[in-house]
Symmetry: C3
């Protein structure tokens, strides 16, 4: 059995050595906090969305994050330009389909991105993944009321259809590439009380994808690391303001021992 704790720590060490640039075309709510999450884990963020520069910018990047949290047609146009250039350069693209299923704009734009760009990992909540799979999830705005267990079959079949890795996050996270699936059981309920923690998790997945060639392992260990940082943050705080601060601290200072003992990833059977 793979030692995911060790693999997680190897990825963090590699990130801090390489400091890869993570190019984000993301929503306006989380630009600051995902940039800080990127820095805290040892990578380097850039936010750039003008159609006049995204192809050039992504060429310096180790990975590209596309996040449709505050979508407009212009922004999606930039996402596709950047994504296609990333594909040409074999730079991994990670998609966060925020709120897909809530409005037809989000659904059509997410599907459009998936048609035009080869995406290495999609990270979403259960309702978003169900929506992408053509099922009506009970989405309310950008929140989901399902658990990942309800999206297992849809995720596996989407992974097959799109030849990609799906990461469905909830109380437990389900990650699948069709052939292999794992469960990540790190995390803490306080993460739901801070805006953009899903988007931060996507950022961490993108960063791990720059140093781990296996998207399934990259996504699972990234979600494990992010969830473990949430657990550590919750040890010093039980309210959302101070918890967010402690989360950024933990993303930066989780130790090898904490990671080795704390990462809980297991095979799906």
């Amino acid at each position: 059995m793979e030692d995911f704790g060790q693999k997680t720590w190897q990825s963090i060490q590699a990130l801090r050595k390489k400091r890869p640039l993570i190019h984000h075309i993301t929503n306006m709510v989380v630009m600051n906090t995902t940039a800080n999450a990127t820095l805290a884990i040892g990578a380097s963020p850039v936010m750039a969305h003008s159609p006049d520069e995204v192809e050039e910018m992504v060429s310096f990047a180790g990975a590209l994050v596309l996040n449709i949290g505050t979508p407009t047609r212009e922004l999606v146009h930039s996402m596709i330009k950047a994504g296609q250039r990333a594909n040409q350069l074999s730079i991994p693209v990670v998609l966060d389909p925020v709120g897909v299923g809530a409005t037809s704009l989000r659904t059509t734009q997410a599907l459009r991105i998936l048609e035009e760009v080869k995406v290495e990992v999609i990270r979403g909540n259960p309702a978003e993944i169900l929506s992408l799979g053509g099922e009506r999830g009970s989405i309310k705005g950008v929140e989901s009321f399902q658990e990942a267990t309800e999206a297992v079959e849809v995720a596996i079949s989407l992974a097959a259809k799109l030849s990609t890795t799906l990461a469905v996050t909830g109380k437990e996270d389900f990650v699948t590439n069709r052939y292999r699936s794992v469960w990540v059981s790190n995390g803490h309920p306080l993460l739901k009380l801070v805006t953009g923690t899903g988007c931060m998790a996507t950022t961490v997945v993108a960063a791990f994808a720059t140093v781990d060639p296996d998207p399934l392992s990259a996504a699972a260990t990234a979600l494990g690391y992010f969830g473990l940082a949430g657990e550590k943050g919750a040890q010093t705080s039980d309210s959302p303001g101070s918890f967010q601060v402690a989360l950024f601290d933990a993303l930066y200072d989780l130790t090898e021992q904490e990671v080795g003992k704390g990462i809980r990833i297991g095979e799906h059977r």
Copy 2:
């Protein structure tokens, strides 16, 4: 006499049970912090401004916040589309006319929104409310140098003219629906040292409006609750960085007893 402390606590309890979606079309400075304020009080935020989705998104919402802090004509177009749909669905709309009076763009766009959309509550500082009432307030950028006492008459006459509730916030807050007016004397000077606390107060007003059918009481208790959270935050911090963290914590963890004893709302005579 109404027990506003009890009413405040009832609203908070109802929010945490219902977790209503608060749709924001707001400025780029406060998107993250107002989303976090929404989560801290128990509601659920969504920020969406594309004209292609705002009507659909608002239909899931318990309330709509329109905030002109970084206005453009396109954004105001989306605000009017969303606001008119909210009106059709009887979803309360709360307007924050940030910086109105400072530039003619802000003044004309705020007045345009008020012509096209039925607004349930307007929350602004004294200079903004004076400007909306056609008086020249001494506004400097987005700050006000008047106190709410100077805007009492204008607020009452605007409430009558627009058939709405006006909430004028300052050292003390004045809330009026023309027929009845109250003063809220919760708050703390440190709130002026954190950007977007006025916008957060507006968000809390919108959330309270989803569970309290009386806009005057909703606005007054929301401002009381927000101000009390500021007072609690200031007990553990006297500098703006740590105060902002403590404010988010307090929005989340004020107790029934603290609210019962701490809310200070009285009739205007």
Copy 3:
């Protein structure tokens, strides 16, 4: 020899008395944190970028910040309108050429601003300043891997060519107006682990420029003050989440004694 510690404290005192408005046309990542930095040092922020209001808004301002961190052609159009109006009114303009040299959009737009607007101070990292000077810096996204020592000659010749003050920030900061140059050795490595600290430094430079008529001294003392706040923040925190909170606190509560003893600015020889 000039007492820069005393001068720094005088500027802070003057800011808190005058509370000048600092108009920002800036990037979407740092709008919230630069607004909070502005408030913490005693000034008053406004973020406004619509071409329909920037000329009116800047007329109330003590200084104008132009920051191209998330550039679009429309935004640069607004920057030039605001900058030209500021020039007419003798309001100092400070430019932060974020990521210039990384993409041709950033390079051409920064040069366009410098052609159309008289800029009082340019604050950038070594790679950005080298790029502005026509040299290829090794820029990766928006980060620089050079130290200010490598950009001394280019900075002096740019200061001459543009008749402006250049502030090159790194481990140590180099500030020059061609005729006189100084080194600022305040700062802390944790500042590189929080997004937007360069942008915040630019904001502080703009604020100091409203109360100090000498751009070189304004820029140097502002960078000294900001760096010293970083040092103070690092005394209570060694991880990026809590460090950012401590940084905002320190920007607000550095004492006269701490400033008098802590500012380290010396002549370049």
